[in-house]
């Protein structure tokens, strides 16, 4: 095994709570209706192609991408389109969604549903990009950046390394962990497809130390694939953040305001690699994903294979509540946002649904800053959150910009470790919003 790597500055060690890492991925089944948002990614919402009353199959294109930064949306079930109107998403705002009543489970004919692993990559690089675009694949780590943009390298730049992100450093979440354990070979083929599309030979799958089963499964497979390596990284939060991961794996630092491609790297989540495998080799567009339903308010934590659009309440009924639920979080507890609508649908980027008990939801009592410097110590980007906070309190956003608040990756290490319980991350976020608004 090669050396365990990590990023240089900052980082924290929150409790892991990976209670569902030994639980096999199970099918969540089909709810009565699904609600599919037309915008599940960063960028413009997709244009709706279907009408009320239309019959759709699993994999039917529902909405077409609109512009470069956008993604297709496919039906995740077969049935009848009931309505296309604005509905409440997890944060309470309204967005356009397509409601489909589930009737049977009829798939589009060209989707290969056999469990066989197809190893030979027949598609040409251009075809691969085309298929990825047509399959509506977006980054499945959480941000939802459309994948085709990452795979098409802008002119004048070159990539020499594909990094697959299997870190999953957020507490509770085990979706990627299970995926690597159960579908290791598919992920490796996904890496190979990315290699072919980019015209390079090297791929690194980064996994953190606390997933020995996943590391073993991947290492077993990668022996047969020359050029694909498994890199073990230290268990530290936010090891899975793009810039921190690149630094750990390659030793290259992404300059402020630059993208990974500027240091010749392409980073994809392992979930995205799996989706790429399914799209290219099995002709299956992205309409289902692995979701961890966990938390101390859950009776039986599960890793579900969920169709996009399944209401969160349907999954919560399946796992059973344990005690009085005080908070529901979509995503991980560090970076995810708590939701106010329990009927909100699972989207392409929902990696987890967490239920926390009321007694564990603490309203922090904020006290004045004591200048201990903990926030500076833990910031993986080398920022000074306490100084940013002071500027934001006085409305001096331009000063905050001068000390690089725009490089904040919103990991929350500062707020997590602040002994005065100051919501430092909130101040940084506010500064970022205000600066971007003024532009």
């Amino acid at each position: 095994m090669n050396k365990i790597k990590t990023f240089k500055i900052g980082g924290i060690h929150p409790n892991k709570y990976k209670i569902s890492s030994d639980i096999k991925i199970s099918d969540a089944g089909l709810p009565e209706t699904v609600i599919i948002p037309v915008r599940q990614h960063i960028g413009a919402p997709a244009k709706v192609l279907v009408q009320k009353g239309d019959k759709v199959k699993v994999g039917t294109l529902l909405a077409d991408l609109d512009g470069v930064v956008s993604a297709d949306v496919h039906s995740s079930v077969s049935g009848e389109v009931l309505k296309i109107e604005d509905q409440e998403v997890s944060n309470g705002y309204f967005e356009k969604m397509i409601t489909i009543r589930v009737e049977g489970d009829e798939w589009e004919e060209n989707i290969d549903r056999t469990p066989d692993i197809i190893r030979d990559i027949e598609a040409t690089p251009e075809e691969i990009v085309q298929i990825i675009r047509a399959s509506g694949i977006v980054g499945m780590g959480g941000a939802g950046f459309p994948t085709p943009i990452k795979v098409e390298i802008p002119e004048g730049k070159k990539a020499d390394c594909v990094i697959l992100n299997g870190i999953e450093c957020e507490p509770y979440l085990t979706a990627d962990d299970r995926l690597m354990q159960e579908y290791a070979e598919q992920i490796v083929i996904g890496a190979r497809i990315l290699n072919k599309a980019l015209g390079i030979q090297k791929a690194v799958i980064a996994v953190d130390e606390n997933k020995p089963a996943a590391i073993e499964a991947l290492q077993k497979v990668t022996r047969e694939y020359i050029g694909v390596n498994v890199q073990v990284c230290a268990t530290k939060y936010p090891q899975g953040a793009e810039k921190q991961l690149i630094e750990a794996v390659t030793g290259r630092e992404v300059p402020p305001g630059c993208l990974p491609i500027d240091v010749n790297c392409v980073v994809q989540n392992v979930g995205t690699a799996f989706a790429i495998y399914e799209a290219v080799q099995k002709h299956k567009p992205l309409f289902e994903r692995i979701v961890t339903v966990s938390g101390d308010g859950v009776k039986h934590p599960q890793n579900f294979r969920v169709r996009v659009g399944t209401p969160a309440s349907y999954l919560i009924d399946k796992v059973g509540k344990n005690g009085d639920i005080g908070k529901i979080i979509f995503g991980g507890p560090m970076m995810g946002l708590s939701g106010i609508n329990i009927d909100a649908p699972v989207t392409k980027t929902t990696s987890g649904i967490l239920l926390l008990r009321t007694e564990n939801v603490v309203v922090p009592e904020v006290s004045p800053c004591i200048r201990c410097g903990t926030c500076v110590e833990v910031c993986p980007q080398g920022l000074e959150p306490f100084a940013i906070t002071n500027f934001v309190r006085n409305g001096e956003y331009q000063e905050a910009k001068k000390i690089h608040v725009l490089d904040c990756i919103e990991c929350g290490c500062c707020a997590y470790s602040c002994p005065a319980r100051i919501p430092l991350l909130d101040y940084c976020k506010l500064a970022k919003y205000e600066i971007r608004k003024k532009k």
Binding site: G92, L337, G339, I340, P364, P423, K429, L430, E434
Partner: protein, 278 residues
């Protein structure tokens, strides 16, 4: 001992005299020609430097006034100083001051703690601008007031405070100078600068929700449901996007009471008469 003290005093005084002479001539040489008129006008202005007039501070506004012709001057107005200050400046310049009605900020939301009770508890930085980005707000209304008081903290004149009973920001019309800081800061765009009206008689729609009636009422009892009753009373009242808008051109004295009394949800607010009686 005495000679030492004398010597020191002498040396220091000499340095002082030389420095004074140097400073005197440098000041003469590098003197900046100031229009005395500008300073005079600037002295009349409130010196709040709020930017409500559209200029970069009071000095800049004074410069504009001093350079203005009679026609240009008609377009200049200091909302903070109001009619009083403007007529004073006009007198100094020999122009005629333009008649302008006093204005103040009004809040287009009546989502009080009673009308729109909190559904969830928000934990984090109490800032409307941040909260409105991450979620819909404690009340569930996507257009309503978040009741966290960004406007209160940003009012340069202390004219807004959070009412403890209703939870909503309350504008004190006597202190409000219509500088527009609240209009710019509110992430939901709930503030509007409207004419104060005679004796403070005003009528306006205290709602900004564009959802359909049933949905809007789910979160707030005082939401405008776009029922069109108001536009039947006064045809100038426009209902667009399920939301009524009362233009400032209609007479509040004539229609105000009737409009407010006939609104089924109480979204139309009529102020003034009552205060006058008290």
């Amino acid at each position: 001992m005495t000679s030492l003290i004398l010597f020191n005093v002498l040396i220091l005084s000499m340095i002082a005299v030389i420095a004074a002479i140097v400073l005197y001539f440098t000041a003469k040489k590098f003197q900046v020609e100031n229009n005395p008129l500008v300073d005079e006008i600037a002295a009349m202005l409130p010196q709040a430097n709020c930017g409500a007039c559209g200029s970069a501070g009071c000095q800049n506004f004074a410069e504009k006034c001093a350079a203005a012709t009679a026609d240009d001057f008609a377009g200049l107005y200091c909302p903070v100083g109001g009619q009083k200050v403007m007529s004073k400046i006009a007198e100094r310049l020999g122009y005629k001051a333009q008649e302008k009605e006093r204005t103040c900020a009004v809040l287009h939301c009546n989502g009080t703690c009673q009308n729109a009770p909190d559904k969830v508890q928000y934990i984090g930085l109490k800032s409307c601008r941040l909260a409105s980005r991450v979620f819909v707000g404690n009340t569930g209304c996507p257009n309503g007031c978040l009741r966290m008081g960004d406007c209160v903290r940003n009012c340069p004149f202390g004219a807004i405070e959070l009412n403890k009973v209703t939870g909503l920001p309350q504008v004190n019309p006597d202190k409000c100078t219509s500088c527009g800081a609240c209009v710019r800061i509110c992430p939901r765009g709930l503030f509007e600068i409207r004419p104060m009206g005679k004796n403070g008689v005003r009528v306006y729609v205290a709602c900004n929700n564009t959802q359909k009636g049933a949905q809007a009422r789910k979160n707030c009892k005082a939401a405008c449901i776009g029922c069109m009753k108001c536009s039947k009373i006064c045809p100038d009242v426009k209902v667009e996007n399920n939301l009524s808008h009362i233009p400032t051109t209609i007479s509040a004295e004539e229609f105000g009471e009737q409009l407010a009394a006939n609104c089924p949800t109480g979204a139309i607010i009529f102020t003034g008469k009552k205060n006058e009686q008290n």
